[in-house]
Amino acid sequence: MPTMFSLALLAGGYLVSTPLLLLLIGLFFAIMLTIAHHRLRVEEDPTVVALIEALPGANCGGCGLPGCPQFAEAIAEGRAQPSDCVAASEETIKAVAEILGVEATAGVPRRAVIHCGAKFRERLRRPDYIGVATCTEMNMVAGVQGCTYGCLGLGDCARSCPFEAITMVAGLPVVNYRTCTGCGQCIEACPRGIITVEEMIDDPLLVIACSSQDAGKQVRANCSVGCIACGVCAKLDPETCEVPANLCTVKYSAERYGRTGDHEPAVEKCPTSCLLLVGAGIEDPHELVERKTREKVARAAARAAQQQRIAASSASNDAPKPGAAVDADAPSGKEDTQ
């Protein structure tokens, strides 16, 4: 070798020896790498490669594995089901099933549910908080909010969501059920633990929008839309609602849940409007609270008008019983008087 280089140096100096050296070193490593590539090849399962291509690639961890490649390996080995991927759309699951050559089973979608229904104006006894604007920090300060269970409203969950499915509306997270995948990142983010992931056995789904374990009186002092454990829901909807202690619990079991319409009475009659229906078709579940207030006002106005009419008609006929007109609904009141 050195003699060859000496000859090259004599013939053409560095102009020849330099490229020659680089060429030799390059060639040496190229041969080494080629041999290594063949000798040390890791057999990659072509199905796994195809599966990684087909999966969403969000690496959200909703399946319980570190990322999509690991999940692909798991389904290829049969350790996981395609439907375990919470971020996959139906087409993705179908594509995955096709690669595997199996029939896709439709899993029940899992979605985030927020167990607090109070916007800023409904949260009482809430002094000004001047500090780091994250729920985690705020939660460390004693007495920042009357309700020690409810949402703090600084949006840690919204920031944690990899799918941008949570928006903060007047201090309350609202889940967009069209984009939510139920990956559960928000559960980790919430310092108060008011978020759970539930199986959407129906859409819309009945949800208790309160987490307070306080007694009714205490809840009323802290919040205008908290669960006071009055038990109306358990009476109207005994199959799904239970009030074991100070908080209503919704039992999500496919056999007992029933159909959507079954829960309307309980939702309507909940005195603090903390039973909500949430789902893809509902823009803002808290709208119901406002609608109920509006309806209450309208009903009162209608009743007042009715009474006036009755009073006007009774002036010409017999005098009506005053108690009946106030208590009963408008049509029955009319029958009574005639």
Partner: protein, 195 residues
């Protein structure tokens, strides 16, 4: 000075006093890029340590056994890059084949650091300082550990910064660079202790 003391001083010199990140400003890209989470940062640091130790040994041999005898020392810049890149590829394949667990934990960083300036820089410094083989390997290892310490410290600071209320114009890269600057100033305290 006995051999062992010499090695210890070489180690401390490159790990603390002449830290790659804080005094040589090498390897800033991973230092700022992969320092968001401590576990990721430590993984990256260990991968750098591993590659740097191997590269230091490899490039010392190439330099002293091939380039200098042939009077082609000036090609070391190109040759070192070539050697480091090929060797890291080789090591990556080997680790992937025989140590899948190890590959999962830091193998993903290996391709990222083949062209890292901290690696090439250290190899060139070792040549410049005229270290012997053993000293070169120790210096490579020390440089890697120094880098690991720097990136782990930075990651710890950045995890705390997540909770802090940062003024709007300084958010993101701004406060990160400020923190990096203050950290560098702190390490300036070591300067001049050892050459």
């Amino acid at each position: 000075m006995s051999g062992v003391t010499d090695l210890i001083i070489a180690f401390l010199s490159i790990a603390l006093v002449n830290n790659l990140v804080f005094t040589k400003f090498l390897g800033i890209c991973p230092y700022l890029g992969v320092s968001k989470k401590t576990d990721m940062a430590v993984g990256m640091g260990l991968a750098v340590t591993f590659v740097l130790t191997l590269s230091a040994a490899m490039t010392w041999m190439i330099n002293n056994l091939v380039l200098i005898p042939l009077d082609l020392g000036f090609t070391k810049y190109i040759v070192f890059i070539l050697v480091i890149a090929s060797m890291v590829q080789l090591v990556e394949m080997y680790v992937r084949k025989f140590y899948p667990g190890l590959y999962q934990s830091f193998g993903i960083f290996l391709p990222l650091i083949t062209t890292n300036c901290a690696i090439l820089g250290t190899c060139l410094f070792i040549d410049l300082w005229g270290y012997g083989f053993l000293k070169a390997v120790v210096a490579g290892f020390g440089g890697g550990l120094g880098f690991t310490m720097a990136i782990a410290l930075m990651a710890g600071i950045r995890e705390r910064l997540e909770l802090a209320e940062v003024p709007r114009p300084l958010q993101g890269a701004g406060i990160t660079l400020v923190a990096a600057g203050i950290l560098t100033l702190a390490f300036m305290g070591f300067s001049g202790m050892v050459r």
